[in-house]
Amino acid sequence: MKMITTYITALAFLFLTSCKKEKTDIQPGDKGELTVEFDNVVGAQNLQLNTATYTNAAGEPYKITMLNYYISNIVLVAADGSRYTVPKDSSYFLIKEEDVATQEVTLKDIPAGDYKGIEFVIGVDSLKNTAAVGERTGCLDPAAGGSGMYWTWNSGYIFLKMEGTSDVATSADKKFRYHIGGFGGYSSATINNIKKVSLTAAGTDVAKVRKNKTTPPTFHLMADASKVLNGTTNVSIAANTTVMFATYSVNIANNYASMFTIDHIHND
């Protein structure tokens, strides 16, 4: 009996200490890292470039050969509702399906805390679209990291680029090309396809950002490429084989605005 009492006391002590620890494992000013993983899928399947054949809502078969998109202006939302805006210049990323290294984005110097949501822009904001050439570095350098994601003749970034093949495509090479951009115009108003996304993790899971954590927590996002074609407007590849800087692109941007979800959170 005495042993049991001791055991219970020990357990209670452990429990209490662990509670105490939980409350004090964040010191004021602590900072840590958070990873955001962009996992491109098509419906319930992992995206397979070049090989897998998918079917869109219009009933047309297609393969995807390229999927690139910009993510920028990231804001993290804590469980208590407070928000942390990632500094602008550490907040531009180009995700490419063909380059695995681009699919995990690690945000540094994040105030320690429990995060359950993320907001970002699909694309590049208008200020960066009109910035001086010296301020366009890394993935925003139209002549290096951002090459192929920039309209040279109509200055502006391509926010999302999806290309592929389909038997119903009307182009000579049977390729469809969706190059979606448009930041609203420099001096005269034109299409604005800047899309803000606000995601919250389901359930009670939170990403615990802590100082000196060996493996940072991860928001595992899924980006459903089928939603580029399916949504408010079901895009027919036969009817719209090529969509670039044109008013129809607004339909595609409205579709892909809902392609992201937080699938789950890893904390180790």
Binding site: T130, V133, A143, A144, W153, N154, F245
Partner: protein, 349 residues
Amino acid sequence: MIQSGPVKAVMVITGMVLLAAACTKSKDGAGPTPMPLNIPSNFPALVYDTASNPVTKEGFELGRKLFYDPLLSRNNTISCGSCHIQGSAFTHHGHDVSHGIDDKLGTRNSPPVMNLAWSRFFFWDGGVFNLDLQPIAPIQNPVEMDEQVPNVIMKLKENSTYRKLFKKAFGTEEISSAALFKALSQFMLQCISANSRYDRFVRNEGVQLTNEELEGRTIFQQKCASCHSTDLFTDNDFHNNGLVPSMVNDKGRFLITLNESDLYKFKTPSLRNIAQTAPYMHDGRFYTLMAVLDHYSNGITDSPTLDSRLKTNGIPGIALTAEEKTKLVAFLNTLTDDEFIRDPKLAEQ
């Protein structure tokens, strides 16, 4: 006043020290030599932000070398200077549209490289709004130079002469796209044309225009200057000037704004050096200035976006007699700037 020996000696020594210090300064690479733009007194305010890219002798010379270097094209055959020839005020004289790489043809007439520091927009449709971002378009256009800028940077990095020139201009051998574009801008910014007979006349520099030229100027001010305004002879804006769309059906500014009110509008070109830059219009359809004036008097086609100033009492066209046209051409010829088109500083070295 007679100076004593020791004072003189001190002065000489001070002078030597200063000189030595000056030498050391430049040897240490205290930076490139400033080469500020020479701003003509009859021009409006500068548009380009020179503070973001101060022009220097070294940057300008590097830009000039790049401008004339076919290395910027896919197969090293076409340079910027191929279609922008100095003697034609940096246009492609005699070509309605230019032939680029592999003799492929574009759809628009090569515009002059001049007074770009005062330009708010580039290209006939104004799709590019910053001079530093302009060169990417011709370099990467499949019918112009058909090269990728990352390849250009690679070719430049392999070239020890360029590495040295970039270091002299920008302080580092690390050749970035920003440095490449800034150097090209520095050359283009220095392409200032402001010494025509007209300029010397309006600046009272001892040049008198003939009566015919002065009468032409008066007609110009009444009938042309609302679009071809200021001493840049452009309002930097876009207008539909009543050209019948060609087979190409180039929709002009609409391609940039997707706004139907911009259909078939093109940027007002400057008229400086106009005698040197035939053929005329965005697609080079008119070979002579008289053909252009005939268009404005008799050839204007009405359409929903036609500029209202090109109608007289609801009828398309600007009233111009044959005599007025002759006087206008005489005036336009005063805008030729021989100094600019022969300036050895702007020529391929």
